[in-house]
Symmetry: C2
Subunit: 428 residues, 2 copies
């Protein structure tokens, strides 16, 4: 049963602290194994990678890369209709993300002074794609397409190999449609180590993105610093804000869509209406019966789900900004009018016909979003995650001469006389 709680402003921060408190779980056993895997691959390269694949995935390979032929086979295996849908989704994702692409710029403030910012793509990027049940083709598109739009020269997808030496055909088709440059059959911590340090046959990358199990997440943490990584995502969340105009049946369906991800997924309704609260509670019970992932739903709805009753819409938005949810559905009259009130949310869905699954698959914005309150300081995965900036400074002689004394004075105030000398020597 989805619990209902009436809350007031004084309780907001306590409730949210409890909801978002991190488990300080330790991963001693996993960490020990992950470190060994990373060190062996750094020492022994390909030989170690082949060994781990045999040992952990049960496959004997003689080539780490998926071949052209295997990709063609995958296209034959996957339903043509799904291929078309993937292509349309790729188009929409590409279209949206092009708006994020940054350009280099220069300013010319006064004669003889040029300042600017040169924007360049990260040269080589790795995308981790989970195997098994979590092999979501939408995730492949959402991670590869922004890197492609950013102009990354080399995108390497890596994904676990099955014991028969093959890779999930949906993953292959999605990676190919998204424009990956090569696909590796290396999952788990060995996949991350291979991307981060390279081997005889694999070029190392400078950044690794994409979700994975605990081994993958810990391996990403270890290689961070040597390469960049994306944020390690927590369980998925939806928060629906509803007034008394909203449709309980749709709210319930959207809460359940989130809850089916896993037992830790969190589905929250914040509403000003007691009637809506009661009807949604009832609808969730009813709709659950017709869904296939009932066991997961029961646990996540009971443990993580909640209906919060608040006094008014102002309070609702204050609560939401404190919560900073991954997905926020705004099911109130005049949803556009609410946008300026929203400070912290990964993705915002406006109105009754913009349910969260539209964003997961199809509309174009990225579905890799900040979870667990991190929308207070971070952003959806985007083109900006695959570009970087260099400042550019040019002064001519006269321009530097004009500020010569000031810079020397500043440098001396900081006790750095070689800094002052570097300026002074230009005018001796």
């Amino acid at each position: 049963m989805l619990k209902i709680e009436s809350i007031d402003q004084n309780q907001f921060s306590t409730i949210i602290e409890e909801r978002t408190s991190r488990d300080s779980e330790t991963y001693e056993v996993i960490d020990e194994r992950v470190k060994n895997i990373i060190n062996s691959i750094r020492d022994r390269g390909d030989a170690a990678v082949f060994d781990y694949i045999e040992q952990l995935d049960g496959a004997k390979l003689d080539n780490l890369f998926v071949t052209e032929e295997e990709i063609n086979q995958a296209f034959e295996q996957v339903d043509d209709e799904l291929i078309d849908i993937l292509q349309e989704a790729r188009h929409n994702i590409d279209n949206y993300h092009r708006n994020q692409s940054e350009k280099s710029w220069y300013t010319n403030d006064g004669p003889g002074i040029w300042l600017g910012q040169q924007v360049t793509p990260i040269e080589r990027v790795g995308v981790y794609v989970p195997g098994g049940k979590a092999a979501y083709p939408s995730t492949v598109l959402m991670n590869v397409v922004p890197a492609k739009v950013a102009g990354v020269e080399s995108i390497t997808v890596t994904t676990p190999v099955q014991a028969d030496g093959k890779v999930n055909p949906n993953t292959l088709v999605a990676a190919s449609i998204a424009g990956a440059d090569q696909i590796l059959k290396v999952g788990g911590a060995h996949g991350i180590a291979t991307l981060a340090y390279g081997t005889e046959s694999v070029n190392k990358v400078y950044k690794i993105v994409g979700p994975g199990n605990a081994y993958v997440a810990r391996a990403k943490k270890f290689v961070f610093g040597d390469v960049d990584i994306d944020m390690i995502a927590g369980p998925s969340e939806v928060c629906v804000i509803a007034d008394d105009q909203a449709e309980p049946k749709l709210i319930a369906a959207d809460l359940l869509a989130q809850a089916e991800h896993d037992e830790l997924a969190s589905s929250i309704l914040v509403t000003t209406s007691k009637r809506i609260a009661n009807e949604v509670q009832q609808e969730v019970e009813t709709q659950t019966k017709n869904l296939s992932r009932k066991e997961i739903l029961d646990v996540s709805i009971t443990k993580q789900g909640r209906i919060y009753l608040v006094d008014d819409l102002e309070n609702a938005f204050e609560f939401v900004n404190e919560l900073a949810p991954e997905h926020l559905e705004v099911l109130v009259e005049q949803p556009f009018e609410q946008l300026p009130k929203i400070k912290n949310a990964g993705a915002i869905f406006l109105g009754s016909y913009s349910p969260e699954p539209l964003g997961d698959y199809f509309a174009g914005p990225n579905h890799t979003l900040p979870t667990n309150g991190t929308a207070k300081f971070s952003s959806p995965l985007g083109v900006y995650d695959f570009q970087k900036k260099s400042s550019v400074i040019y002064y001519d002689k006269q321009s530097l001469e004009q500020v010569n004394q000031k810079i020397q004075k500043f440098a001396e105030a900081e006790g750095l006389d070689a800094h002052a000398a570097s300026i002074r020597k230009r005018f001796e």
Copy 2:
């Protein structure tokens, strides 16, 4: 003596791997103390902060905040000329960074479909400023001004208090000129914990930036996840690319300006000219004699400094892109023409009158830059570090109906039938 090495392309990656290999130093003693500090402050709030200040800084305070009066006193203590220079530097930094500010955008692709990206500032930010000799007012400006330009509502500067209960006046003046909203007298790991978790008197922040000693760096690592942090910077570096037109005297001065920072600072010349290499080597010896930080210079020049002789300019840029230096000075004929060759560098200084200290203090671009090869995947500190994005999605009924079947099919292919139901229920 600054060593000269002739190198060819095959050696580039080995040389750079050696230069940028991270020390896997452990910090057991520091970590233990830092964890205790963080836990006490989370448990006991202000009381713990006051205790640590007494114990570690030797000051007995009854208020953690710098008062208006103390700021006014600082303005009286600091040289008026320096105040003017700080104000002019602030103006230049503000001016440059305004170009980085991102705007929200919306697209309207087809009737009934609105997609966008809402850009908002991080609400509350903390800036750590070291005390003692490393209390650089330039660092205060470079960290506070971009947050201000981003529109951060509340910027809290924190810096160590002296035993007499006072704070470095240069820091106070710079923080006030930069526009900090409040200044705390809390240094070290206790400063970071106070910002990250808040106390009765201090509001917690969502992101912490700024340099610090090992305690500060480790504390930032521990609180990361609960709040965001900037990158933990390594020792400073300059790389000068010079052809045979360059002035050895200026190159030497610029290498020394970098080397004076500390014994681990690295100063590299990459040149195509044997004559330049020899003359720079000689000039470094000569100029060192007249500088005050001779002991530091001797160590950093001998241990970290190097002149690399390469065959041609193509090789020079290839080496530099592999090195990804924090600062890159381009002292060759037609420096602008070289920009497209530069893929990885924190800041690029073009021509003979754009020495690195110009960027440290005055020109406007940020001096907080990626070190130790991380320019391959990261950027200077900027306004973008204090802004975040939310995706915005709106479909009307007709637009969703058109893609209804496709999204359901996609969701079912991923085994998520509650996702499919959330779409389907809208058309039942």
